[in-house]
């Protein structure tokens, strides 16, 4: 199992209903279906990913997250998951609202723009940071709303969103004691498990 999926699946109850926003090739849903008896749908816009999902036996719906999630009713899903897509949508704040309107809980993962290497890259090179987790130029990146862990937590506070659990990991989704010492600086990716207050 992929390490990020290992982290995410801990927050998903067996037999529950899941919506995976930007589900890629459906690997997470496939795992959840097979091992946790979860029922769910993935939303995706990449044509190749959609075909892969279908081949993988995952329910995939072609839908652009930037057009909203109005077709889903309030509280209709147990857990809404979004892996590494928050930074790529037009209005992450509105999408967070939507996720917690539809789902009782949500799990969000995104890269930390406050990671020490990014900070140093900008400070010493004077250019927009590029790394293995952020392998794009400023002009062709799909990531249009980068944020730091602190930014995200401030947004949650303003929106009255409760953080149930926060797991900070490195680029390989591994936990390490050093990260726990100074997550805002040493963490590359965070997995936030959130709900409404």
């Amino acid at each position: 199992m992929r390490d990020d999926h290992a982290l995410i699946q801990r927050g998903v109850k067996p037999g529950s209903q899941v919506l995976d926003l930007g589900c890629g090739q459906g690997a997470l849903l496939q795992y959840l279906q097979q091992h946790k008896n979860v029922r769910g749908y993935g939303l995706e816009i990449n044509p190749d990913n959609i075909t892969a999902c279908i081949r993988n036996g995952v329910n995939v719906i072609e839908q652009d997250l930037d057009n909203g999630l109005r077709n889903f009713e309030d509280n209709s899903i147990d857990t809404v998951i979004m892996t590494q897509a928050l930074q790529a949508v037009e209005r992450p704040d509105l999408l967070l609202d939507e996720m917690l309107r539809i789902g009782n809980e949500a799990i969000v993962t995104f890269p930390n723009f406050g990671y020490w290497r990014t900070r140093f890259y900008l400070m010493f090179k004077g250019r927009m940071p590029m790394s293995e987790t952020l392998p794009y130029n400023w002009y062709d990146t799909p990531n249009i709303h980068m944020c730091t862990f602190r930014d995200f937590e401030i947004l949650c506070r303003e929106k009255n969103i409760k953080i149930l659990k926060k797991t900070v990991v490195d680029g390989e989704h591994k936990q390490h004691w050093t990260i726990r010492l100074w997550p805002a600086m040493l963490g590359e990716i965070a997995v936030y498990h959130i709900t409404r207050k």
Partner: protein, 387 residues
């Protein structure tokens, strides 16, 4: 004529006819005492009879979905792009059944066939059939072929409506449903188009209230107009622009009412061709079946409750420039299926070809279709247990 049958074709096929003596009570309350269904099959039925796929045809379709009837055939069956060895509906894996629906004019009982009670052609007296009547008749054909459960029921447009009907009418008799470029019911605009088409036919002086066969005439003009209108709604503005633009037949304007633009002569040609091969009463009857289709009506107009009856998995596909059955209509089906907690996947295929796209070999469309049919194949139960 195919000089040589292509390798990915089902080859030469011979239609079969089955005569049914068991009376069929129709949605309208009328009873069809006996009837014929003409059908074709491609591929081999496995020992368990578990690899059968039913193809439901659209408005002007018939049983000839793939392959050739003879080496003189100019064109293969209407869905040859999707049915054959190695194609989306792979005849190496599946036993494919395609039939001409009741009321059709390609061999199954319909307005052009003989009414056994009078010994004359049915004409306009052939009972108006509903989508559910077709599905009932198809189920009886399945019984004849000893197919208890279809691996999949597949159809586009009006064919997609039959698929939806199958899923709620005989939920235990299909494992997968593929609904392409379809809708849960027609919009007022759709019904309006159908009525204009029917009026064009009915007002043709050669129509004789539908008794044209007895008069030795054919309402050619009306049928042609109906088809021209239909054809317009199946294409998109972009497709027409690309195909014809404002190109002139003779390279100059003649300031006459004869067809001057290429698009005009194209429509004339299509209408003309159709009016010689298709029966006017069948066209009236099939468009009525479209208008009446509204399965949710039996469930307090609640499509979620209606589709809750289904037990199969679904693939729903739409096309970006289809304005006859727009992607929004497919999304209504998808949303209802999700609310009903069904397994459903949905893709909206980029295409310039309007409603007609569902018959064309668009790579992304065929990829998704093939991927789904691989799943259908993986779900085929084998003797002595699950797959």
């Amino acid at each position: 004529m195919p000089e040589q049958i292509p390798n990915d074709s089902v080859g030469l096929v011979i239609p079969k006819v089955h005569h049914f003596d068991q009376p069929l009570t129709l949605r309208s309350g009328r009873v069809l005492p006996s009837y014929d269904l003409v059908y074709e099959t491609y591929g081999e039925l496995n020992a368990d009879h578990s690899n059968a796929v039913l193809i439901c045809h659209a408005l002007s379709g018939d049983h000839h979905a793939a392959g050739y009837h003879s080496m003189e055939d100019k064109k293969p069956g209407w869905w040859d792009s999707a049915i054959g060895p190695g194609k989306a509906i792979d005849t190496n894996r599946f036993f494919v059944v395609a039939l001409n629906n009741l009321g059709g004019c390609a061999g199954s009982s319909g307005p052009t066939s003989i009414n056994p009670e009078t010994g004359k052609p049915w004409g306009p007296d052939f009972p108006i059939v509903a989508v559910r009547d077709w599905v009932n008749a198809q189920a009886r054909l399945a019984d004849v072929l000893e197919i208890d459960q279809w691996a999949a029921v597949v159809g586009g447009s009006l064919g997609g409506m039959q698929v939806l009907r199958w899923s709620i009418q005989f939920p235990e008799r299909l494992r997968h449903a593929v609904v392409i470029a379809s809708a849960p019911k027609l919009s007022a605009q759709n019904i309006a188009f159908n009525e204009v088409a029917r009026q064009a036919i009915a007002k043709d002086p050669e129509f004789h209230d539908g008794h044209y066969l007895e008069h030795g005439t054919i309402p050619k003009t009306g049928l042609m107009q109906a088809r021209m209108l239909g054809h317009l709604t199946y294409l998109s503005d972009d497709a027409m622009k690309q195909k014809f633009g404002r190109e002139l037949k003779e390279g100059k304007l003649n300031y006459s009412f004869a067809p001057e633009f290429q698009v005009e002569s194209y429509l004339h040609y299509q209408g003309e061709k159709f009016s010689t091969r298709f029966d006017a009463n069948t066209y009236m009857l099939m468009t009525k079946a479209l208008d009446y289709f509204d399965p949710a009506a039996d469930y307090d107009n609640d499509l979620v409750q209606c589709l809750s009856q289904a037990q199969c998995d679904f693939l729903v596909v739409s096309f970006t420039t289809d304005w006859r059955f727009s992607p929004e209509r497919s999304q209504e089906i998808v949303d209802a299926l999700m609310h009903a907690d069904k397994n459903v996947s949905y893709a909206c295929i980029e295409s310039d070809n309007g409603h007609d796209a569902f018959l064309l070999p668009i790579p992304r469309y065929l990829d998704i279709f093939s991927a789904y049919m691989e799943r259908v194949a993986a779900d085929i139960p084998t003797a002595g247990g699950q797959s």
